[in-house]
């Protein structure tokens, strides 16, 4: 079966009646999460935990990247192990533009840098999407296991490429002098930045939900479930999957742009295959194909990483087996746990 799922769910739990109850729970959980996220900076500031705002900002940035991966992995059934490449690429676009704007000298002697949100962020999105288009066009000629391997390989190409760019710091990375600017607002204000990240994340998730119900979304979901059936009704799924891949790449690039602003630092590590692995873990732990789940997954993974790192520097020694156990013995991820839904339905 071409449909990826942790463990695989049974048809029974997709009964029409079960769905209505599930939709109610979904609504409650989704609205609850929305309320919490909107109120968080206020709660954090008034309870003296201002750092919490920063932490959750980071979670939401990864959430955006994870949801973009879920779009191709969970909805489209394309298991990409190189998604972090677009994440890192978006970050580098912002970083490089900021560098040239700060240093005063233009790129290749012609293109001026920029510190403006209106230029840097769309640039990150568009460039990531274009690279995703090119790489996706090649990768999607394969399927199954080959696809996994080739996406990984190409992501490493990008990693090595940026490592070799000594001019932009190479392995050591590039420090940004400040955050991007939108008209007179400097995004250094953590609360302003928080709400921007929140807004973008919410907008993207809403867009994806809309996509699911569109003609395009129907084909992508159909292709994920049964390629033979799709061929039998007369559609070549290649270009739709490629379009999906491109959209996801662009969104990941946008997340990268946010990350560059958040950390004020970019390095090739952002596109290392372990980052791709981490994004996958977020998607799976959160709930493959649910679109909301990966946000929970991002919160979980970033939260775990933050707390475990303070306990031991060898926390991955524990995370590894935990992940193995989770894959072997659990199904459906956090979202399923909370709402009983295993997929973002096309209804």
């Amino acid at each position: 079966m071409s449909q990826p799922s942790v463990g695989g769910a049974s048809i029974g739990q997709w009964s029409a009646a079960g769905m209505i109850d599930g939709r109610r729970r979904t609504g409650i959980v989704a609205i609850g999460a929305l309320v919490v996220l909107i109120a968080l900076p206020w709660i954090a500031a008034s309870s003296g935990h201002a750092a919490l705002t920063l932490l959750v900002t980071r979670m939401m940035i990864y959430g955006l990247a994870a949801v973009s991966l879920d779009l191709i992995l969970g909805i489209g059934g394309m298991i990409s192990f190189g998604h972090a490449a677009y994440f890192g690429l978006g970050a580098y676009v912002v970083g490089i533009l900021a560098y040239h704007s700060g240093a005063g000298e233009p790129m290749f002697g012609v293109l001026p840098g920029s510190n403006l949100v209106v230029i840097a962020w769309p640039a990150a999105l568009i460039i990531s999407a274009l690279v995703a288009l090119v790489l996706g066009a090649l990768c999607l000629r394969t399927e199954g296991v080959s696809f996994i391997m080739i996406t990984l390989a190409f992501a490493q190409v990008l990693y090595f490429f940026f490592v070799s760019l000594k001019f932009y710091g190479g392995d050591d990375g590039l420090i940004l002098r400040g955050r991007n600017v939108v008209s007179e607002y400097d995004l250094r204000n953590p609360i302003l930045f928080y709400y921007i990240c929140f807004g973008l994340l919410a907008a993207f998730v809403a867009t994806c939900r809309r996509l699911l119900d569109s003609r395009f979304g129907q084909i992508v979901q159909g292709a994920c479930q049964n390629e033979r059936r799709m061929a039998a009704i007369g559609v070549s799924t290649y270009r739709y999957k490629l379009a999906c891949f491109t959209i996801a790449g662009g969104a990941a690039g946008l997340a990268g742009a946010l990350m560059a602003n958040y950390a004020r630092f970019v390095s090739p590590d952002l596109m290392h295959w372990t980052e791709s692995g981490q994004l996958m873990v977020m998607v799976v732990l959160g709930g493959v194909g649910t679109l909301f789940g990966p946000i929970l997954g991002a919160i979980l993974v970033v939260g775990l990483e933050t707390t475990l790192t303070s306990l031991t520097e060898h926390w991955k020694f524990i995370l590894g087996p935990v992940l193995v156990l989770a894959v072997l013995f659990t199904r459906g991820g956090l979202w399923r746990l909370l709402t009983g839904q295993s997929r973002a339905f096309n209804q």
């Binding site: 997709w14 809309r210 003609r215 395009f216 049964n226 059936r229 007369g234 559609v235």
Partner: protein, 244 residues
């Protein structure tokens, strides 16, 4: 309408289709029968474009489609159903058909409009469901349908691609008597409206419905003709009795 000449398929050492010639005339219901393993499904798969033949040609409406991809052939009017149903289980019955309707009327790079509100898709979908007798189950998930209903849905989806030739792979297999009767009734209603290639084991249905029958053994055609001729054909009897 469909002209297959010299169709041959070799899988390593196995000759699955052996120099097969097949003609299907406009509006006829042509049955393809033969003992198990005779290569009927393989032949169908080659005509549909799923498998690439080792040799031979396939012409549809005078056009050589031997090199066309499977989706392209559907575009020309060739539709098929599967022996093991290939449905989108998490889609509703109606959505399964609507998707086929959507492909047929083109323009699938639409990212915003909700398909579930699109009457240009909903109406035809419901009509096709009506035609196969599944209107009452339109909102059920395809995965929840009974075996017989899934078979009916397969036919509805195939019809939604507006085919000129419909190829059915054992639509009666695994059906109880009531469901089988319904399916036969459906085929009878379709007969004459479009050309049909029917692969079946149920001889009553075959002899009752077919205009002509081709008999296949070990990938080779051993007989072709109207039902009454086939019934009396000694080779055919030998093939079947020898098999049992």
């Amino acid at each position: 309408m469909l002209r297959v000449r010299g169709l041959t398929k070799r899988f390593g050492g196995l000759l699955a289709t052996d120099d097969l010639d097949l003609d299907i005339w406009v509006g006829e219901l042509h049955a393809l029968i033969g003992p198990n393993g005779a290569g009927k499904t393989t032949a169908l798969a080659q005509i549909a474009g799923e498998i690439l033949p080792t040799a031979g040609s396939i012409h549809f409406d005078g056009v050589d489609i031997s090199r066309d991809s499977a989706p392209a052939r559907v575009g020309r009017g060739l539709a098929r159903t599967f022996q093991i149903t290939q449905l989108l289980h998490t889609f509703t019955t109606e959505d399964n058909v609507a998707l086929a309707v959507q492909i047929r009327c083109g323009h699938s790079f639409r990212f915003w409009a909700d398909v579930h509100r699109d009457q240009t898709l909903r109406k035809p979908a419901l009509e096709y469901l009506e035609r196969v007798g599944l209107s009452s189950r339109a909102q059920a998930l395809a995965g929840e349908l009974s075996h017989g209903e899934q078979r009916q849905l397969e036919v509805a989806v195939a019809l939604a691609t507006k085919p000129r030739l419909l190829m059915l792979d054992e639509p009666l297999a695994g059906l109880g008597p009531a469901e089988a009767a319904e399916m036969v009734g459906l085929l009878r209603r379709l007969k004459g409206q479009i050309a049909i290639l029917l692969i079946e084991h149920d001889m009553d249905a075959v002899f009752g419905l077919a205009d002509r029958i081709t008999v296949l053994t070990s990938g080779r055609r051993i007989a072709i003709g109207p039902p009454n001729e086939i019934q009396c054909n000694a080779d055919v009897r030998a093939a079947y009795l020898g098999e049992e």
